[in-house]
Symmetry: C2
Subunit: 248 residues, 2 copies
């Protein structure tokens, strides 16, 4: 499974990987009622990028996505969705990657495989901010969480990719509601209050929801199991705790 491949930057031919095909990840983390995404920073270049990766020759593409995601976040049980594939010629710009490689002391030739045209498959992931152990990739120096409002300038078309990921995530929320997949489970404690669940929805959708309607809707879906009352909390009535029903 984990055969040794030459590190990417020292592999000018890209041996062992599918040529011209990349993956980019929009990794959403839920932290303090804020939605953040994980970016890589390249020191001395002022360049930021989405985490990315490549597909090995003997690997399913979706498996490759899980592998790279695990390498970047340390997490294996992740909600992951392929949302779009980006193939514009405008993506083909050698400048930023060359800058990054040069800042690393490399001096790639024009036909280094990383400098060729790539089509990139976009995935978005939802992960638990607290459980993640972000790890930079071999070319970058730093992993940082950014709120969507404070995104820095991103390489290539990565801003558009992040934007499209958010749109897809929001549009998917309704449809995923009924499904048993419970995308929300990995983002919440095992037992959570209705308020916490609502806050999660509001954070992702970027808008307020009505409390009574939300509760009614959620309870009507038969995806929640009510547990005992919560003991701790604030200066007010204790809320119930819920967990997702994991039947079948």
């Amino acid at each position: 499974m984990s055969e040794k491949l030459t590190p990417l930057e020292q592999n000018p031919e890209g041996i062992g990987y599918l040529p011209g095909l990349a993956m980019d990840f929009v990794i959403f983390g839920f932290d303090q009622y804020q939605l953040k995404i994980l970016l890589l920073e390249y020191r001395n270049t002022n360049l930021f990028a989405l985490p990315g990766g490549f597909v090995r020759e003997n690997e399913n593409m979706n498996d490759a996505a899980r592998r790279v995601l695990s390498e970047r976040t340390g997490l294996s049980d992740i909600y992951l969705d392929q949302f779009y594939t980006f193939g514009d010629l405008a993506r083909y710009d050698q400048a930023p990657l060359r800058t990054i490689m040069q800042a690393k002391g490399l001096n790639p030739t024009d036909d280094h495989w990383l400098l060729r045209r790539f089509v990139s498959v976009g995935y978005y992931a939802l992960i638990d901010f607290r459980k993640a152990a972000p790890t930079p990739d071999p070319l970058s120096d730093n992993c940082i969480w950014y709120t969507l409002e404070n995104l820095p300038e991103l390489m290539l078309d990565h801003k558009a990719i992040a934007q499209k990921a958010l749109e897809t995530l929001r549009a998917d929320l309704d449809r995923k509601l009924g499904g048993y997949d419970s995308w929300a489970a990995p983002l919440l404690p095992k037992a959570f209050t209705m308020g916490e669940l609502q806050k999660l929805y509001e954070t992702i959708l970027g808008q307020q929801l009505r409390r009574s309607s939300f509760q009614r809707k959620m309870l009507s879906l038969d995806i929640l199991e009510r547990l005992e009352k919560q003991y701790s909390g604030g200066a007010h009535k204790a809320p119930y705790l819920y967990q997702f029903i994991m039947d079948k």
Copy 2:
């Protein structure tokens, strides 16, 4: 724009095209209240496949999709949507393509580029059955419309691709409702009756809709303009004709 490239089958290196990247098309046609998709047939091989294509080195991927679609259908103004990218290793099976090429009198070596592993970007299209001029690609001998219920055995994972296209199309119908894109326009006469529009929806969704609800909903969306009454028709009250409002 239309630079001359060596025909695919005589181009063992795939010069001029992005390596390892294909596109597959699920072309939906609306005919006699039936939803059909366009398949290619390879004579003497008993093999059927979705129309496919490749991306040129100096071409946006989505432009390539329109180009190929135009080559296969003769249509240029087409509703086209990229819905998923298929990258399983199981797609990598030389046998069917080798059979096809041999039936054409070709004898490709194992590393002919068409026999290598491909990742394929799936697009679905909605076209007017009557306006289409289906044209087989250089390797196939025939274009045939099939209803979804009567699909023959398809090459590789093409059946799964068609299935996913249909699911995506159906799921998208609601969301596209509000939009001004009016995906339905190219599938209907310039002026159409409410019954025709409803039939279109029913055909795509594969289920009956309630007549009064459908009419109420459509009229409430403010996307239809009512014209004069239809003059011809059957032995019954003449229905109104409508057209889509094309404002901004």
